[in-house]
């Protein structure tokens, strides 16, 4: 799960990590009043959307007067922000974060992420703050410092010393860095984060050490034990069909093609998308109904797929433990309820397969049966082009 910058900063601050003074605003008036309360003579107005690269898209503006804060907030709020990560359609800005401007001496990078191969938590730091870390990694990997932390033992002082000396931090700033890094690590493990990224992390001319930007993602599997984090979920930032799917515990991702898919199992669902593409089609979605799909789930899945207006739908079910006749019943009932008006290619395999196919054949629905995955993929691509009909 993703959260906004202002939310990530609030979490980090609760672990003793220094952040600039800031306030959230949903109107230009609020933004101006926030700037007044924050004080000073320079402010930064930052669009709050779940996408990186905001600066490049005009979503981060430095302002030197309260009127400018008002104007920049007005320009962002209610408009779409296009960044390298949002795609050309952009993202609607509903909130801005107003922050005090800082006198920056150095911009650094700090990140924490799981390393699957070593099964350790990696603390990454770089003197090249403010840039995409992938770019730095590609261009000058030697500039990225990495410390591998064993979760059972936790972060040790030497990890932080290695980072501080590596970044050339000394004296009071190094002391602040110790407290900062410890706080970020504690936030990562205590909140079950999957990623924490502070980019840039700044050293100010007065010797401050603060998170100027902050990104936190969380392990979805651990959200049950973090109700406070779960409350930060912003449904406005998510694809509406994906939100609907998550209510039914369906794993759904909207894609750009025109062939809808309903599959049981994530691996088989990915493989089904792949084989559609192999035969020249474009999948409209990824949809895993899970191992225990009942009628209700199958119906919800059909509604979601149809809402995306596909030209044809492929159902690919390997009913191992689940019986094919029960799945076929579910498909027939769901298809009748949702007024199916596009060709449906159904491939069923597994227990009671003959009975399942019989139920589909006698249903009167516009179903094109297929026996193998290959046959199913070829047929659905042709059906989407109008080359074959049920």
């Amino acid at each position: 799960m993703k959260i906004h910058e202002y939310q990530a900063k609030a979490i980090l601050a609760s672990f003793g990590v220094d952040i600039p003074k800031g306030e959230l605003a949903t109107t230009p008036e609020e933004a101006k009043r926030a700037a007044q309360r924050i004080g000073g003579s320079v402010w930064v107005v930052k669009a709050q959307v779940h996408a990186g690269g905001r600066g490049k898209g005009g979503g981060i503006k430095v302002c030197r007067s309260l009127d400018e804060v008002f104007a920049k907030a007005q320009a962002m709020l209610g408009n779409k922000l296009v960044t390298p990560q949002t795609g050309p359609q952009g993202k609607l800005v509903r909130k801005v974060y107003v922050e005090e401007g800082l006198d920056i001496a150095r911009e650094l990078y700090l990140g924490l992420i799981l390393d699957r191969e070593t099964r350790k938590i990696v603390l990454m730091a770089s003197s090249e703050g403010g840039m995409e870390i992938e770019e730095v990694a590609a261009r000058s990997p030697e500039k990225i410092l990495k410390e591998y932390i064993d979760f059972l033992v936790g972060i040790q002082p030497f990890h932080i010393r290695n980072i501080c000396f590596g970044l050339g931090l000394e004296g009071e700033v190094a002391k602040k860095a110790h407290r900062f890094i410890e706080g970020v690590y504690r936030a990562f493990v205590e909140k079950d984060a999957s990623l924490v990224e502070i980019n840039p992390l700044v050293v100010t001319k007065e010797g401050g050490f603060l998170a100027l930007d902050a990104k936190m993602n969380f392990d979805d599997n651990a959200l049950y034990r973090h109700k406070d984090v779960l409350e930060l979920r912003d449904f406005d930032e998510e694809e509406p069909l994906e939100v609907q799917a998550s209510k039914y515990d369906l794993s759904y991702i909207k894609l750009d093609g025109d062939i809808g898919n309903l599959v049981n199992g994530a691996g088989l669902a990915m493989a089904t998308m792949d084989i559609i593409k192999y035969f020249g089609g474009e999948p409209a979605n990824f949809l895993d109904v899970g191992g225990s799909a009942d009628r209700e789930k199958v119906r919800a899945a059909f509604e979601i797929i149809l809402a995306d207006k596909p030209k044809a739908i492929l159902v690919n079910i390997f009913g191992g433990i689940m019986k094919c006749d029960i799945i076929a019943d579910g498909i027939v009932e769901a298809a009748k309820n949702v007024k199916l008006d596009v060709p449906l290619v159904v491939r069923l395999q597994g227990t009671n397969v003959e009975l399942g196919r019989k139920i589909l054949a006698e249903s009167g629905l516009p179903i094109i049966p297929a026996e193998t995955m290959k046959e199913a993929a070829e047929k659905v691509v042709k059906a989407a082009r109008g080359e074959i009909r049920p």
């Binding site: 191969e117 991702i253 994530a266 669902a269 990915m270 493989a271 191992g320 433990i321 995955m373 993929a377």
Partner: protein
């Protein structure tokens, strides 16, 4: 022979009284697996089809000599269940449950390693040595005893591959679903090592997916250490970056872990890669003819 599991395993089911636990216990028994005990705290003294249920794993092991466990308890209790099984001296743990937090696995995995425990999963279909025993949720009837090992990060896609093999008359020695999570008890290389050492296995099907570097590491290991042929398939060629494709571990992050990279890497190491998921069986049949 087979790897990790054979007919001598004395299996315990943690979470035996739950709906998934009881259903799959019956399926496992029907397949011929020796399920000797169940554990559900608070239900000790009861039975499921004559299988005694205990309150603790320690008690179940003491009374029945169980040496393997299938875990069906809900995700929030899996860390505890795995550690309890390790503590009780169980040496083969198969965790079926989906949704175990990554940090829980970061705690359990090193302890399992230290205690010499073979941990499979979580978020996996389990393991089956056809004709001998199964610990998991895969449909037994699609399998056939034989000499091809199968190792996969997926569930139903593995059934698809096994079904293709069986229909072509190619039996399997052992099929293992290692699970779709970022941190797994057992990875590809450990399975490949075991298949390489197993006299009963002549070739291996490896089914990978997007995310991580496991397939690349496996490719390198195969080219250096494996004498038996391997046929691979990688799911997720059309998966968009940055999106979790159902499995917690199936995500292209920071431009890394794409299917294209993995397929190129496998091919560069001389491994046959099936072009579509429908060609896994046929590709293996062709490779076996050459041997």
């Amino acid at each position: 022979m087979a790897i990790f599991l054979d007919e001598t395993a004395r299996v315990l089911v943690q979470g035996i009284t739950g709906s998934a636990g009881s259903f799959h216990t019956r399926q496992m028994v029907q397949y011929g697996t020796k399920v000797v005990a169940g554990v559900t705290p608070g239900k000790g003294g009861t039975q499921l089809d004559g299988i005694p249920v205990f309150n603790t794993v320690r008690e179940a092991v003491k009374e029945t000599g169980a040496n393997a466990t299938a875990i069906f308890v809900p995700a929030p209790f899996c860390k505890d269940a795995m550690l309890e099984a390790i503590d009780a001296g169980i040496k083969l743990i198969v965790c079926i449950t989906e949704g175990v937090p990554v940090l829980d696995m970061l705690a359990v995995k090193p302890i399992a390693d230290r205690e010499g425990v073979r941990l499979i999963g979580p978020n996996c279909p389990g393991i089956i040595s056809p004709g001998k025993a199964k610990i998991g949720i895969m449909p037994g009837h699609i399998h056939m005893p034989g000499h091809v090992g199968v190792v996969s990060r997926s569930g139903t896609l593995t059934y698809e591959a096994v079904d293709q093999l069986t229909k072509l008359g190619i039996g399997q020695s052992t099929c293992i679903g290692i699970g779709g999570d970022p941190i797994q008890g057992t990875g590809f290389i450990e399975c490949l090592e075991a298949f390489e050492a197993d006299n009963d296995t002549e070739a291996v099907v490896l089914i990978g997916e997007i995310g991580g570097q496991q397939e690349e590491k496996a490719a390198e290991w195969i080219s250096k250490k494996m004498t038996k042929p391997v046929v691979a398939f990688i799911a997720g060629q059309t998966a968009p970056p940055g999106r979790r494709m159902g499995h917690a571990g199936a995500i292209i992050a920071g431009g890394k872990g794409t299917a294209k990279e993995k397929i190129e890497c496998l091919k560069a190491h001389g491994i046959e890669v099936a072009p579509t998921p429908a060609d896994i069986g046929i590709t293996m049949a062709r490779v076996l003819k050459k041997v």
